[in-house]
């Protein structure tokens, strides 16, 4: 079996149970509204997945993943917004055919950098390339100068703050603090219907699993091992002749690309993009999802994201004025008692028992087989 080499047993179990949960159980038991919420949570799982690679494996803590999430989301939103701002839809504006917020800000023609977003192909390329390119520039500038650790985290946080201010300040080009709202169709296909939401959900789950497999693949290659080595002893890796900076840049770029895919999915699912996903607070929240799930575990990150967001929704629906305390308590509890997050709990408390059970059963069946073959007169192994 190829899988048994690609995933070890507990990883395979994690993979299959996640697949079962996302592709079968949730769609069967949730109505479209709740399924759409899960879809929203899962968009953050892309970011968490990227953080597992760059923080968990590579040891590079980025507190600015919101920037990449936002860039991906904004690229998608620009395409959808242009489609929603057809001349027919915007007749009441002083300049029909441009997005409504441009009209409010006295802009009379579509800016140059918006033009490529008329094409879906170029948009998809932009979603993947623009954030990765930005990550590359940041990474090259930092890691080549051997800026790392806390300093890197602080700089990514500053970049998140700058990005928010830029987006809010340039409201004629970006929609400002309102963000881009009222997105309707994707190439003529109405993304607001229940039917579309379900299709988008399955599409998202598919893409998420593609990303999970990519992440797992990277982890198992030599590259993945170098990343871990770098985290543990950066200098030794450097002395062994590897270019540490390049590997770090790679991990950071990959995390940025995953985040951007998540952002684009978010825009599609929610029909909405705003600077409130770009700033410092959401970026740190994304790190929390990863921490709750367990920063070393690909599946843990997905479960962590789902759990935290589910708790957020449930607590805020039940206790609109107190829910933040509950959420804060949850984070403190996780960090204090389960430093390795959900995946740590799983590994230390659950997986052991499962392993023992499996071992018991296989030894039992082996025994049974041995007795049976002995009875048949065949040599017992």
């Amino acid at each position: 079996m190829i899988n048994s080499r690609f995933f070890n047993r507990s990883e395979l179990l994690g993979f299959l149970s996640l697949l079962l949960l996302l592709a079968v159980i949730l769609p069967l038991f949730l109505d479209v509204f709740r399924l759409n919420l899960v879809a929203k949570y899962l968009t953050y799982a892309f970011v968490a997945l990227g953080l597992v690679m760059c923080w968990g494996y590579g040891g590079i803590l980025s507190l600015g993943q919101g920037v990449f999430f936002g860039l991906g989301g904004y690229c998608m939103a620009m395409f959808l917004k242009l489609e929603a701002s057809s001349v027919a839809n915007t007749k009441i504006q002083s300049t029909p055919g441009i997005p409504d917020f441009m009209d409010w800000n006295q802009i009379t023609s579509l800016p140059m950098f918006w033009k490529p977003f008329h094409s879906l192909t170029l948009t998809i390329i932009a979603i993947l390339v623009v954030p990765t390119l930005l990550a590359f520039i940041i990474g090259a500038a930092m890691f080549k100068r051997r800026v790392g650790g806390v300093y890197f985290a602080i700089i990514t946080q500053a970049i998140a703050a700058i990005a928010t201010i830029l987006i809010i300040g340039q409201q004629g080009y970006t929609g400002g603090i309102n963000g881009m709202t009222d997105l309707r169709t994707l190439n003529g296909w109405d993304i607001r219907t229940d039917h579309a939401k379900v299709i988008l959900y399955f599409f998202e789950v598919f893409v998420l699993f593609a990303c999970i497999i990519t992440a797992q693949f990277i982890r198992l290659t030599k590259l993945g091992r170098i990343l871990v080595a770098m985290r543990e002893q950066e200098d030794r890796v450097r002395f062994s002749g590897y270019s540490v900076a390049n590997f770090k840049i790679f991990a950071f770029c990959a995390a940025a690309m995953f985040a951007a895919i998540g952002g684009a999915m978010f825009t599609l699912q929610i029909g909405f993009m705003s600077p409130s996903f770009v700033g410092i607070v959401p970026s740190i929240e994304m790190v929390i999802y990863t921490a709750v799930g367990g920063r070393m575990s690909i599946f843990g990150a997905v479960y962590g994201t789902l759990l935290v967001n589910y708790a957020k929704t449930m607590l805020s629906e039940s206790f609109p004025e107190l829910w933040l305390f509950g959420l804060g308590g949850l984070f403190i509890a996780v960090v204090l008692f389960f430093p390795n997050g959900l995946s740590g709990i799983w590994r230390d408390h659950v997986a052991r028992h499962i392993d023992r059970l499996i071992a018991m059963r296989s030894s039992k069946s082996k025994k049974a087989w041995a007795i049976k073959s002995a009875a048949d007169g065949a040599p017992a192994e």
């Binding site: 009441i92 400002g176 009222d182 909405f272 705003s274 409130s276 996903f277 805020s316 829910w323």
Partner: protein, 419 residues
């Protein structure tokens, strides 16, 4: 993870069928029940809203956490007070109002998510909510898609009109023009310095103000500056003000920035009893944070002040303080939020139905004579006819009303010549 307790209710068609079936027994009762008490649910609710024979559910959707909580709490309190009072009078079409409160958490996408939850899951008959333009813009597509009804309380920039929203605050021209006319006439204001927070409402408001100042009043704008939300360093603009010496400082600085702005003005030696300052963004709520001593003398243009002297308002202020404590203050938006449930009740009773498609057209012409701000009327464009008033801030944090337009001003969300 599933919290859905009703497996089997997946397709909307099935849901409708079930609902139709549920309504059947009620219909068979129709000839026998008397209509004296309340009309049958099946007759006044044909779209499956959360209406039973004794109750109707509405949603309250404001931020009670995050940076906007300080502003929106007043709106929540006013809406709860109105619902209480309506219930005490027997409710709407014989049904008591029950509310489900959701927290927008000062986060626009959360607003959209919660609005959708209220409409799709809870099937609320109306939503009282939103505060910032950004939250309204986020919620609007949801309201239109699921055909809900939103009562939106804040004064805002206009340029919007929807079947699914009733705007109980002023649109920009209602708030701005009369105030500018007043200041130009009584204070002989010829030069204006415009200062605002950097987002859609101040920008649009200043655009309208500039056109009015330059076009109608023959004055000039000696400066126009915007600062990011939450900005606290106003020294550079205060220096420019000192240099240009405008007749009037015209301000639309919002939220927490106000505290720094007025304190720094005072520290820079600008005395608001000599320098005319007209603001469109400071209500009693904001003065609570700024401190009366820092802003006393400034003028604000609003449609409502807590100090308004009329019997409706006295009753309202007394009831509000009884319910929420002596120390609470009531700002312009809080009063507008109070109108929401009342206007909705009257509209539903006029339409004789909770259906959104019936109350949207029935809204036009609804009159509320007991409004604390005085008489208000709903325009066919879903905004309110209202007066504009100018108040001068006092040391105790209240406003003294110095001017009031004689007539109600017609709402004009798409003002010609000001765009």
């Amino acid at each position: 993870m599933s919290d859905e307790k009703k497996p089997g209710l997946h397709s909307p068609l099935r849901r409708k069928l079930l609902m139709g079936m549920a309504a059947l027994p009620a219909m068979s009762l129709l000839p026998r029940t008397s209509f004296a008490q309340a009309p049958a649910t099946s007759a006044i609710n044909t779209t499956g809203l959360a209406v039973t024979d004794t109750e109707v559910t509405v949603g309250i959707l404001h931020s009670v956490t995050g940076t906007m909580a300080i502003s929106e709490t007043g709106s929540v309190q006013a809406e709860k007070l109105a619902i209480d009072q309506i219930n005490a009078m027997g409710g709407v079409l014989g049904r008591k109002i029950k509310f489900i409160q959701e927290d927008g958490a000062s986060d626009w996408p959360t607003f959209a998510e919660k609005a959708k939850k209220l409409l799709v899951n809870d099937k609320v008959a109306a939503i009282m909510g939103c505060w910032t333009s950004a939250s309204r813009k986020a919620v609007l597509p949801v309201m239109e898609q699921y055909n809900g009804m939103l009562y939106y309380p804040t004064f805002y920039e206009g340029l919007e009109q929807s079947k699914n929203v009733i705007y109980t605050g002023q649109e920009a021209t209602q708030q701005i023009l009369a105030g500018l006319d007043w200041v130009s006439k009584t204070k002989n204001g010829k030069s204006f310095y415009l200062i605002g927070s950097d987002y859609i409402w101040p920008r649009t408001s200043m655009k309208i103000a500039r056109k009015h100042i330059e076009g109608k009043l023959g004055g000039k704008v000696s400066g126009e500056e915007y600062f990011p939300l939450g900005h606290t360093q106003f020294n550079s603009v205060i220096n420019k003000i000192k240099l240009t010496k405008p007749d009037v400082i015209y301000a639309a600085v919002v939220g927490g920035s106000n505290v720094a702005f007025y304190k720094q003005l005072k520290a820079a030696g600008i005395d608001l009893s000599k320098q005319t300052m007209l603001t469109i963004s400071v209500t009693e709520d904001e003065i609570d944070g700024i401190g009366g001593e820092n802003i006393a003398g400034a003028y604000a243009c609003m449609k409502y002040f807590q100090s308004l002297d009329n019997p409706n308002n006295k009753e309202f202020v007394a009831a509000f303080k009884k319910m929420w404590g002596e120390k609470t203050v009531i700002g312009d938006v809080t009063q507008a939020a109070y109108l929401g449930p009342w206007l909705w009740k009257m509209t539903v009773e006029k339409a004789g139905s909770f259906d959104i498609d019936k109350i949207a057209p029935a809204s036009a012409g609804i009159e509320f004579t007991k409004a604390p701000e005085g008489y208000v009327k709903v325009h066919p464009n879903h905004h309110l006819w209202s007066k504009a008033r100018v108040g001068q801030a006092q040391l105790d944090g209240q406003f003294k009303v110095v001017y009031e337009t004689p007539e109600l001003i017609e709402p004009d969300p798409f003002p010609k010549g000001y765009q």
